[in-house]
Assembly symmetry: C2
Homo-oligomer: 327 residues x 2
DNA sequence: TTGAAAGCGTTACCAC
DNA sequence: GTGGTAACGCTTTCAA
């Protein structure tokens, strides 16, 4: 691999000049410029990222910390981040935290030690102390943190309201809200949205909690429905639990949407494929990831952020787990 | 951030000694050893990966190049690779190539420029020339390449045979094999396996080709089935196309498995969730990724590879798209 | 056993 | 406009 000094020699200038040329910093005469261009071409020279990082204490790597890429929500998010990073010349390191605080800390260590340019984080922890120390650009994604860093989220309350209202409009009279783990703020907000609509109507409502995992959700919902046969509408705070609900209902020999209607939340691919296909409040996952990556890169490149926080509106997608007509 | 020379000063030894201590290379006296340990503790010192990379021309980063993390096959693979990397102290950069040769090349550039320790690659291109130049550790994953680098794959032929035989045993008499894009070697092998079984039986068989994407697969299969109403068994070379087949059959108002039985290939999560749930030849995706990462790390650390190529047997999972009893 | 110093490939300051 | 050179933080060779 040729180095900057090879280029300098060939172009008959100093390394300093080549460096200035490369970074567009300081003056470089016309003739030098041409000579350097030619030399770079000829040698097929590419600056060493590593050396550059050592010198500037900054790399072109972005760290992406998510709970688990296997969770169907994250591949698309990761893809959006990677695409955007690619577009701006960055590269992304993928970290699966498993929502484990220790692992998350470890990754922070590792990433900062690599002089990453910035970090995008989907975390349930609110490590005010951990983060403040390192003043590296960050953005929180999907799950708002209490601490004050730029954040990209879906408008969870709005989405939940949309879903709940829809269920009511479709004639549901006894609603069950399946919330997610209470540590997850977005889940709390969705439940809040549910409640806000409910309190405007004189209808029966129930709230339970379940992990975002369709197998567990299925058994929890199965039990609950067995003991509460009046329920005829379910708002699940994630598509995963909505799918669990679907299976639970089938097991009870009831049918969807005739006996019970379901609206999920997230808009993952799987929702299209189950039958009946899932009516859901779809987050614009790609846009979420893209916005986060752009905000991060803006920070990295020292551009001012117009908004310190972006909130993307979800969209209700009507499919087959809700009734076509109002009953 | 403290540096090695801070440690050296505090421990009253030279940087060279600290370095030797850190890397377990060369002698370090007992007293120095203790002093260094203490100094490291006190300063909370962590060696700079970047500086180390510049010096050794090798980092602790592994590059993972896959077509698209959104493709349901890859998240689990990526997770396995990341887990294994984590366990051994490596970190992974995620690259989505979109099966685009240019993009793939670009990533190779970028990765080698970062002195990555090694690369795991799932590619349909056989860039003999591109690869040979860079003699960095590599392993090919899932899709065998023609060139001679260590490879981890599923036993595709065996899996296809399993599926085909199963369909025949369940009474299918006119089989359709839905192959994937012909550039993908694993898909070719699956079709081969299908043919090997077929030729032993006096039954009707058809082979068509479809991208690994359930929407396109659905329309292709729909058309084909319409013109070939005798078909009563489908072996799809991917779960995605199997799901497409399922939808196509429903659209034709036929039922699964009564009219047509289906067996997929891959074992992605979605297969569990469709209804009827998908009988499939499941690859052990996690094991695939883990094996690849281990092989790579072995190479990186200069340990001899026992096998230059690992082939993992898939397993038939019987679910609901095939009949319970032989007809 | 240990330390001095060169080298890894850049950047950036300062003098010319 | 340009070049010399220290500095980034580490490894490694060589001599002591």
């Amino acid at each position: 691999m040729p180095t900057i000094s090879d280029v300098a020699k060939l172009a008959k200038v100093s390394v300093a000049t080549v460096s200035r040329f490369l970074n567009d910093s300081g003056y470089v005469g016309k003739k030098s410029r041409e000579a350097i261009k030619k030399a770079i071409q000829e040698l097929d020279y590419v600056p060493s990222e590593v050396a550059r990082s050592l010198s500037t204490k900054q790399s072109d790597i972005i760290g992406l910390i998510i709970p688990d890429i296997k969770n169907p929500f994250f591949p698309e998010l990761a893809r959006a981040v990677e695409d955007t990073a690619f577009e701006y010349g960055y590269t992304v390191i993928l970290c699966n935290s498993d929502e484990n605080e220790l692992k998350e800390k470890h990754y922070f260590q590792t990433l900062t030690n690599k002089y990453v340019a910035g970090i995008i984080l989907t975390s349930i922890f609110d490590q005010g102390t951990n983060f403040k120390k390192l003043k590296i650009p960050m953005v929180a994604l999907d799950r708002p943190l209490e601490i004050n860093i730029p954040t990209v989220t879906t408008n969870n309350i709005e989405g939940a309201k949309l879903a709940t209202q829809f269920l009511i409009d479709k004639g549901a009279t006894s609603l069950l809200c399946v919330g997610g783990p209470k540590e997850i703020r977005s889940s709390k907000l969705r439940v809040e949205g549910f409640q806000e609509i409910i309190k405007e109507y004189p209808i029966d409502s129930h709230i339970i909690e379940s992990p975002y995992d369709f197998e567990t959700a299925e058994t929890i919902i199965f039990d609950y429905l067995k003991h509460n046969p009046t329920i005829d509408g379910i708002f699940a705070c994630s598509d995963a639990s909505a799918i669990g609900a679907l299976k639970a209902i089938h097991k009870l020999n009831l049918s969807v949407p005739e006996d019970i209607q379901i609206v999920g939340f997230d808009g993952i691919q799987m929702g299209k494929v189950v039958s009946p296909s899932l009516t859901t409040v779809a987050q614009n996952i790609y846009q979420l990831g893209q916005a986060a990556a752009k905000m991060l890169i803006h920070q990295i490149e020292g551009k001012p952020l117009e908004n310190t926080s972006v909130c993307i509106n979800p969209k209700l997608i009507e499919r087959e787990t809700t009734r076509k007509e109002r009953t």
